[in-house]
């Protein structure tokens, strides 16, 4: 079933150039979808439209078959949780526990049940040992994990990551990528991740590629990530494993092309054994 349907949506910030131009796509319920495109391709604009921060100039957006309009705005926002790029801009509590509690307080969850909820979600993001820590004592990756816990505690049906790892160091990035994988495996929610990280894309179920406000490619990452020429023309990266496959092919070794490092290592071993 489609969780989100975006139909013929256009949007312009300045009425001169379209940030999004006749964009249509569907997001399947429970799927992990990544959206990629270079800076300025319209990725983040989509996130802002989905949560109703801005209104599309044309077209329609449906979430759970509810049309996104003023009447349904709050019902739809209740379904969606979003994690933004900058860890420092979304930490508002004095401690980790306070920060996770913020959303719960807004939803008038009784204080006595709050402690249990906070601990449950801190555990989910592996931050249970830091409940009383202040944000200044946390790394960027840890702050992002707390932000994710706060969002998860709201039990959203849809979780959006808007370049949630692009300001983190490699350790933080890999922690968050693993956490997204865990959430995808253990929870039922629909995940949308707007990202530059081609290795993250390789882990997702579906990828949507944007360029100049248009959807230019869409499909399973194992197909899309093999389109080397198209990706390079779009100023996107290609998976490292694909570069290796091409280098080997150039030397006369007909190995299969893979989109993940593990897959490529297996393929090289398989090829070497066969000979």
């Amino acid at each position: 079933m489609d969780k989100i349907t975006v139909k013929d949506v256009s949007f312009s910030y300045d009425k001169e150039r379209d940030a999004l131009s006749h964009v249509s796509f569907q997001i399947k319920e429970g799927a992990y979808t990544t959206i990629i495109g270079h800076n300025g391709s319209g990725k983040s604009t989509i996130a802002k439209l989905l949560i109703g921060l801005m209104k599309a100039d044309g077209g329609s957006i449906e979430v759970d078959r509810l049309p996104l309009n003023e009447e349904n705005l709050y019902a739809i926002r209740d379904k969606i949780g979003i994690v933004f790029q900058n860890p420092d801009n979304q930490f508002i509590g004095a401690t980790v526990a306070d920060d996770i509690a913020f959303g719960l307080e807004n939803h008038q969850i009784p204080t006595e049940s709050m402690q249990g909820i906070i601990e449950t979600y801190a555990k989910k993001v592996h931050m249970e040992a830091y409940l009383e820590s202040e944000p200044t004592k946390l790394s960027g990756g840890q702050k992002q994990r707390v932000a994710i816990a706060g969002v998860l505690a709201m039990k959203p049906e849809i979780l959006i990551f808007d370049e949630a790892t692009s300001m983190l160091d490699p350790q933080g990035r890999s922690d968050i990528n693993h956490l997204i994988q865990e959430i995808h495996e253990n929870e039922t929610m629909t995940i949308i991740s707007i990202t530059h990280d081609i290795e993250e894309v390789a882990m997702s179920d579906h990828v949507i590629v944007l360029d100049q406000g248009k959807v230019v490619m869409e499909g399973h990452p194992s197909e899309i990530l093999l389109k080397e020429k198209e990706l390079i023309d779009l100023h996107l990266d290609i998976p490292f494993s694909l570069k290796v496959a091409h280098a080997l092919q150039k030397l006369g070794m007909p190995v299969k092309e893979c989109t993940t490092m593990e897959g490529m290592v297996d393929e090289i071993c398989r090829y070497a054994m066969k000979d």
Partner: protein
């Protein structure tokens, strides 16, 4: 003349309950004309280390020689202005520091401050904007209407317009898309190789270190853990593990294949070299 740290210690908020030892008796020499990467985990002291280079921070103990200037603990260096002209420091997210109405005015601010005439500043600004990839059509635009990557280019042009001998960049590619980051790194390589500027870059991206830099300095807990050339550094897999460094993809794949029984030398640092080594391994078994 090189850059030389001698027994440099930096303590933030010294003498208060919040006192924090950020650099601990650091001695280090940075080669003139080299492209040096400063790496280490978040909070290791990388930024503190580089902010001493134009006396933005002063040592709590020890001293630092930068070009012809000696910066010591007990006295504020004289002629700070000329030091800051020679050592250009680009902060993290420099685009947050743009402030002028037009891109031209923003880039001219530095050189004018250092005594250039209106005309000289303009010439320099036009030249440097071109170097960072922004042509003359941008001059009269507001810097705030640009994309994030373009804003960062303007901010870097502003530093370059002062024609510094030493360029220090603190995580200059953070938050850029892969293509933008690559173009940015290529620009720094050009500044280093063609314009002979000494370049220091604080980074977490080991791909950039491997492909663009000459030297590596590893900072951990306020101390220098290691300093060597890039090739030697990436050959030492044990050290990378010990320092909890996420190695470049080519090294990850090389190690994964070695674990599966391939005998590959540790000097495979490019895809081509790795592919050739795999080929000769496969042929050996035929």
């Amino acid at each position: 003349m090189p850059i030389r740290y001698e027994g440099l210690t930096h303590i933030y908020q010294e003498g208060t309950p919040f006192s924090y030892l950020a650099l601990d008796d650091v001695s280090l020499e940075i080669k003139e004309g080299a492209f040096t990467a400063i790496i280490g985990e978040t909070g290791s002291g990388k930024t503190t280390l580089v902010q001493h280079l134009n006396a933005l921070l002063l040592p709590s103990k020890g001293k630092l020689q930068v070009l012809d200037r000696l910066i010591t603990a007990d006295q504020k260096p004289k002629q700070l202005k000329s030091l800051r002209k020679q050592v250009g420091l680009v902060f993290q997210f420099p685009e947050y520091q743009l402030f002028e109405e037009t891109i031209l005015k923003d880039v001219c601010f530095g050189p004018k401050n250092f005594g250039a005439t209106e005309e000289e500043a303009r010439d320099m600004a036009v030249k440097m904007l071109k170097l960072v990839g922004l042509d003359e059509s941008y001059l009269d635009q507001s810097p705030f209407e640009l994309s994030g990557g373009q804003k960062r280019r303007v901010a870097i042009a502003g530093i370059l317009a002062m024609d510094p001998q030493v360029l220090v960049l603190d995580e200059p590619t953070a938050g850029l898309d892969p293509q933008g980051a690559k173009e940015m790194m290529d620009l720094f390589v050009e500044l280093n190789k063609t314009y002979h500027k000494t370049v220091l870059i604080v980074t977490h991206d080991m791909e950039h270190v491997l492909h663009s830099c000459d030297e590596v300095v590893v900072v951990a807990k306020g101390k220098i853990k290691k300093q060597c050339d890039v090739t030697t550094f990436f050959e030492d897999v044990e050290l990378l593990k010990q320092l909890r460094i996420d190695p470049p993809a080519v090294i990850k794949m090389r190690e994964a294949l070695r674990e599966r029984g391939f005998s590959l030398g540790k000097d495979m640092l490019s895809i081509e070299a790795l592919a050739k080594a795999i080929q000769s391994e496969v042929q050996k078994h035929e």
